[in-house]
């Protein structure tokens, strides 16, 4: 039987090609033009692009609607991120059917950051499901065409199902067991939390290669020292390496705006192209997820430099 590809992302990962994915974070707006334009710019360099679901618990435009519009207007396939923080299992199920109707092909199933980290800390945290349970729910929708209680869905949707993982986790053993749980629940691919330390990526890939599920390693090019500093202090569980921070801090002192921009780009291209080359050369990584939110212009030169 010939394999049916649910999405371009699935086709690319199954072919064994080193696959790049991008990420867009539409904010408090109803105008997605800027994100559609960004998607068009990176379209020839990434296979698909994540659209975030109220990241860090900031209340933004619906990720389902944004995933649909960006995919429709840019022609770049999206990866619809769905978290358990704001919706119970009824609402999530309903959104998944909606996503199917709108032609969304890929989903990334996440637990979601806690409510109090965001801009609406008074909100009721839902967390009716966790990420493992959500993956299992989507798997059943796709494979069996049924809801959580086994009731049939008329024209069930097909999704290529993604999961998150964190190679930085310390201790790592509980995270590895969770990875296994996600594989058993039915994850088709993984996209990891941002990794800066290549050794962490290597050992994580070594531990998880036995499951034969594609793992896309997350990286985060840092547009400026300010972004790096914010990232270092505010993104749960990730620290920017000191040498990178120092280089960016030094670049931030350049007074000429254009020269400063060039230096920032150079630092990023150097650091991350060697990182990606090393991934390609020595690991089983299926690809690289470039989370350059607000810095999409780095993706084309970075992908070129990593060839």
């Amino acid at each position: 039987m010939t394999e049916v590809f649910i999405s371009e992302l699935m086709r690319s990962l199954k072919s064994g090609r080193f696959t790049f994915t991008g990420e867009l974070e539409p904010e408090k707006t109803t105008n997605l033009t800027r994100y559609v334009e960004a998607a068009k710019k990176i379209k020839d360099y990434v296979v698909a692009c994540n659209v975030t679901d109220n990241p860090q618990s900031f209340a933004y435009i619906s990720s389902l609607v944004a995933s649909y519009i960006i995919q429709r207007d840019s022609g770049l396939e999206t990866i619809y991120q769905i978290t358990c923080r704001d919706r119970n299992r009824i609402a999530i199920f309903s959104d998944l059917l909606g996503a199917g109707a709108l032609g969304i092909k890929n989903v990334l199933a996440l637990t979601g950051d806690y409510t109090t980290l965001g801009d609406t800390p008074q909100a009721k945290p839902v967390f009716d499901l966790d990420s493992v349970q959500l993956i299992k729910m989507i798997r059943r929708i796709v494979d069996e065409g049924v809801d959580m209680n086994g009731k049939p869905i008329e024209s069930p949707p097909k999704f290529f199902i993604g999961a998150g993982a964190n190679p930085n986790a310390n201790p790592i053993e509980p995270e590895l067991i969770k990875f296994e749980k996600k594989v058993n629940a039915g994850a088709d691919f993984f996209q990891t939390q941002v990794v800066f330390d290549i050794e962490k990526a290597k050992s994580f890939l070594k531990e998880t290669s036995k499951y034969n599920v594609p793992v896309i390693i997350g990286i985060f090019p840092l547009k400026s020292y300010g972004v790096a500093d914010y990232f270092d202090k505010n993104v749960p569980g990730v620290k920017v390496p000191k040498e990178l921070m120092d280089a960016l801090a030094k670049a931030s002192e350049i007074s000429d705006k254009n020269l400063r921009r060039l230096k920032y780009d150079e630092i990023n291209l150097n650091y991350f192209s060697s990182f990606i080359k090393e991934l390609k050369k020595t690991t089983s990584a299926a690809g690289c997820h470039i989370m350059s939110v607000g810095y999409e212009e780095i993706i084309p030169p970075l992908v070129e430099a990593s060839r």
Partner: protein, 218 residues
Amino acid sequence: MIITEQKSFEEILKMLEPFSKVFIIGCGTCSTVAQTGGEEQVKQMAEKLRGAGKEVVGAVVVETPCDARILRRDTRNLKDAIESSDAILCMTCGAGVQDIVEHIKKPSIPALNTKFLGIIEHIGEFYERCRACGECILYETGGICPIVRCPKGMLNGPCGGMYEGKCEVGGYKRDCAWILIYNRLKEIGMLDIYRAYRPPRDNSRLNVQPREVIWVKT
């Protein structure tokens, strides 16, 4: 133990504004231990209320105001004083206040905020340990409750917000419940339980409110 905190005196006075004669009921069990509604606190409250111009017509510390039988027993001889009051100030948990409301037809004012079911490490140091969720899974989690100790109530291991064994909520000061669970299960040789998939909870059984337990004779 039910852990309570006293409301600010300003808030209590504001609720008591329409009333001049006050009867105080304290709690001889949880609120005594938490030092929010025991003999000493009831006495202090009576003094403060008098200082604020209220007439305190009586006060009692009921052994367990949340037990209707004990509440009736301990207030039986105080009927006249209670009858002469305009309002009851309840230095009890929310269950106590509502039991008092059921039995004494007077406006009842809560003097405490009910916080949680917890343990007492030292006086003045209380930790929540049980959410009274109705379906105990402590056997599966090495005796550490993820419903109460993980802000997200995760059931299948730590989330991405765990850093060096600490939780993203509250700035990495508190232990990640799932790391505690992992370490504990490893220690007692029960890691197989940790690996098992844990399905979503059945909220149709857990969360139908309000909950009741009624023994049926067999």
